[in-house]
């Protein structure tokens, strides 16, 4: 059984009358990448802060690397949602400062900072003040500051926000590299594509409560598969085909019909039915539901009533 790096049990956090996190329990195995998903105000940041020991839970327990957070602070890396660096610090010093607070000696921290900056193509900017870097560069520096001390467990809060597609791809590769080194990663995001590409497991939170926890495949199974079919004719007859749960006409401005299929239904029966009716098709695709669809469905349909 894999070692559990993070374990939350019945964690609750209130701010006055507002329940930010409500009886949340989940675990994270070593070496995995967990996507922490949820709409704004879902309680993601509060949960992350509790994991880091920044705010204490009102109820429940949190164990990180098998211990209380205060004992393992130096083995955790953290990237906050809103970037926090001293603007007048030089890039290498900014990374080294956080690394020294996490236990590295100043010399080692500076050497590590410069190596990481070189690896990210920021070597020439090592002695540039943060205020002199572009937003993307500053964000990379912040990410490097979170991992310069070689943590076992890395928490990234919205690591991709504000990055252009090129930098996002670069950061994705970096996160994969961290996972390949055996680090356990938890990152929160609003961007489902990143979660789809990176995560082993997903946890969806809304209004402080867990709506889903599991693999990407399990998440996709929450919604029926969908077929999108384009034709000039009325395809309502497809609702009678075995395995079809629902057939929806194209929404205004769209060209394709959307059909929801039951689990195990064979998409080829749809093509056969159209062929029998002599309906020429302009488009046909059969795909599992996207994480975006699953997320929207979960949040809209399953989130607890206020």
């Amino acid at each position: 059984m894999p070692e559990t790096v993070l374990e939350l049990a019945h964690v609750t956090k209130r701010f006055g009358d507002f329940v930010a996190v409500d009886d949340l329990s989940f675990g994270l195995a070593r070496g995995s990448i967990l996507g922490f998903l949820g709409p704004n105000g879902a309680g993601k940041t509060t949960t992350l802060r509790m994991m880091l020991g920044i705010v204490p839970p009102d109820a429940g327990t949190i164990r990180v690397l098998g211990r209380d957070i205060a004992e393992v602070r130096e083995r955790i890396g953290y990237l906050p949602e809103e970037r926090g660096l001293y603007k007048r610090m030089r890039a290498d010093a900014a990374i080294a400062y956080i690394a020294t607070l996490k236990g590295l000696s100043r010399g080692d921290a500076l050497a590590r900072a410069r190596k990481l900056l070189d690896g990210f193509g920021l070597g020439p900017f090592a002695r540039v003040r943060i205020e002199g870097l572009s937003k993307g560069m500053a964000q990379k520096v912040q990410v490097l500051a979170a991992v310069a001390h070689d943590p076992e467990f890395v928490i990234l809060d919205e690591p991709f926000s504000g990055l252009d597609p090129v930098n996002q791809t670069e950061l994705e590769a970096f996160i994969r590299g961290l996972a390949a080194e055996g680090k356990t990663i938890l990152f929160s995001t609003h961007t489902m594509q990143h979660a789809e590409r990176l995560c082993d497991r997903l946890l969806v939170l809304a209004k402080g409560r867990k709506l889903f926890e599991g693999t990407l495949e399990a998440a996709r199974r929450l919604l029926p598969r969908r077929a999108r079919i384009g034709a000039d004719a009325d395809l309502a007859f497809l609702a009678g085909v075995p395995g079809v749960l629902n057939a929806a006409a194209p929404a205004e401005g769209q060209a394709n019909w959307t059909l929801e299929l039951s689990e195990g239904a064979d998409g080829r029966t749809l093509l056969a039915a159209c062929f029998e009716k002599g309906v020429p098709l302009s488009h046909f695709d059969l795909a599992p539901p996207s994480l975006h669809d699953v997320f929207v469905s979960l949040v809209e349909e399953r989130s607890p009533a206020p």
Binding site: R49, L52, G53, I54, V55, A70, R73, I76, Y78, P80, E81, E82, R83, G84, L85, Y86, K87, R88, Y97, I98, T100, L101, K102, A145
Partner: protein
């Protein structure tokens, strides 16, 4: 402790590499120089130069007495050295007169009471009558009425408020002239009334001070130290407050909190501020001594003797402890304010009332200096947040031992308690964006276990 020192180091580097630090470091000695040295260089140290005349309607004896006194003062002013060595090697300041007597123009002497004001106006404008070429305007006219010495009162005429130093000088000269006249009346055999001019030289001494120390300067040094405590505390604590507000706004505080506990962060910040304050003091001290050395070697000797007396081996540790306590008390309060504020505007609104409370010692300073061991000084010394300030003022006056040790214990206890309280306020409020808490909620943070 390692993290605390790392944060302290970072705070120190952050503040001393700011442009504002260099400006403040330079500004204070420059300000002192402007305030103290410029008047000396322009010949205006002490009373301002005045041209004055005397209209003596009693016959001229009083006019001659005042003129003679002004002449004596002017001669002393022309002496090559402004100071001379006293009996114990301490420099003694020689009194000088900056007042120049000029003969009154005829129209002023002849003017009767009805026309005297107009004549004075003419004299103050610079019209000196016939026989003078481009004379300077008079600053002041002294009128000795015919009945002076009995019912008549001498008058001093000038545009606006008469100069207080000149007024004091004329008053002294006339008093001496009246005394000489009285001596002549009762003892006409005394041929040299100048014996009345014998000046008394009083040298203030303190049995607890080393010989050679100057008591006047000795009393100024603790005051200067107390004021410097206030200036340094407010200056550096304000920077600390701004730093916390900035860290909150950039979310750097969240990164720090993921690395260290709130108590480690607050302690590190306070140690950093102490290091900045001590650096400031050392640089200011060196700069001031350099400036004083340029201005006058005697001044450096005076201040050094006084510092040795004030900061003797007995009192130096106490002075240092009170100074550090004061700095930490102010720093803690500002840090707490910074952690509760969401913006600099928020901080300003919280800082306003706090500054009124913190500045109260400056209002009380005169009373405490006048009687350093009196009831007011003693009572104020027991107000916890003011204790370091007032005890620094009083320490050279040797307060009773029970007060000294009692207030020391109070200052240390207050400091420890405030640092602990600041840690709690910081932990509770530094990540919130709510409105700052009420005073009651803040006081409740002193209660252990209160969340």
């Amino acid at each position: 402790m390692r993290r605390t020192l790392l944060i302290a180091r970072q705070e120190f580097v952050k503040y001393v590499t700011r442009r504002g630090f260099f400006i403040s470091i330079l500004m204070f000695p420059l300000w002192i120089m402007v305030v103290t040295l410029v008047p000396q260089w322009t010949g205006g140290s002490g009373p301002q130069h005045h041209d004055f005349t005397v209209v003596d309607r009693t016959g001229g004896a009083y006019r001659d007495a005042i003129a003679a006194a002004a002449l004596r003062g002017a001669e002393a002013r022309r002496a090559p050295a402004a100071t001379a060595q006293g009996g114990h090697g301490a420099p003694r300041v020689v009194p000088r007169s900056p007042f120049a007597y000029e003969d009154a123009p005829d129209y002023l002497v002849r003017a009767d009471d009805a026309h005297f004001a107009a004549a004075v106006r003419r004299a103050l404008r610079g019209d000196r009558g016939t026989g003078y070429e481009a004379p300077p305007a008079l600053d002041t006219v002294v009128l000795i009425p015919a009945g002076f010495g009995g019912a008549g009162r001498a008058q001093i005429w000038s545009s606006g408020r008469p100069d207080s130093d000149l007024r004091e000088f004329v008053d002294g000269a006339l008093t001496r002239a009246l005394q000489i006249a009285a001596v002549h009346r009762v003892a006409p055999q005394i041929s040299d009334p100048a014996i009345l001019d014998a000046a008394v030289q009083l040298e203030a001494r303190d049995p607890d001070r080393a010989a050679g120390a100057n008591a006047t300067v000795d009393s100024i040094v603790p005051i200067a130290l107390a004021i410097i405590l206030f200036v340094v505390s407010v200056m550096n604590s304000s920077v600390l407050l701004q730093g916390v507000v900035e860290e909150k706004s950039t979310r750097m505080i969240e990164v720090l909190l993921s690395c260290a506990t709130p108590r480690e962060i607050t302690s590190g910040k306070l140690i950093g501020v102490i290091a900045v304050a001590l650096t400031t003091l050392v640089i200011w001290g060196l700069a001031l001594f350099a400036l004083m050395g340029i201005a006058s070697h005697g001044t450096v000797g005076l201040v050094m003797a006084s510092l040795r007396a004030t900061a003797s081996l007995d009192t130096l540790p106490l002075l240092l402890v009170f100074f550090l306590c004061g700095l930490l008390i102010y720093g803690s309060l500002f840090l707490a304010i910074g952690s509760m504020a969401n913006s600099l505007a928020d901080a300003q609104s919280l800082l306003g009332p706090s500054m009124l409370i913190l500045m109260l010692p400056n209002v009380m300073i005169a009373g405490v200096i006048r009687d350093p061991n009196g009831a007011l000084a003693s009572a104020l010394s027991w107000v916890p947040i003011y204790t370091p300030y007032f005890m620094m003022l009083r320490i050279a006056s040797h307060p009773p031992p029970w007060q000294l040790w009692g207030t020391l214990a109070l200052a240390v206890t207050t400091t420890v308690l405030l640092i602990w309280w600041t840690g709690r306020v910081f932990a509770k409020h530094v990540l919130t964006t709510e409105r700052p808490p009420s005073l009651g909620a803040l006081i409740a943070r002193f209660v252990p276990g209160q969340r």
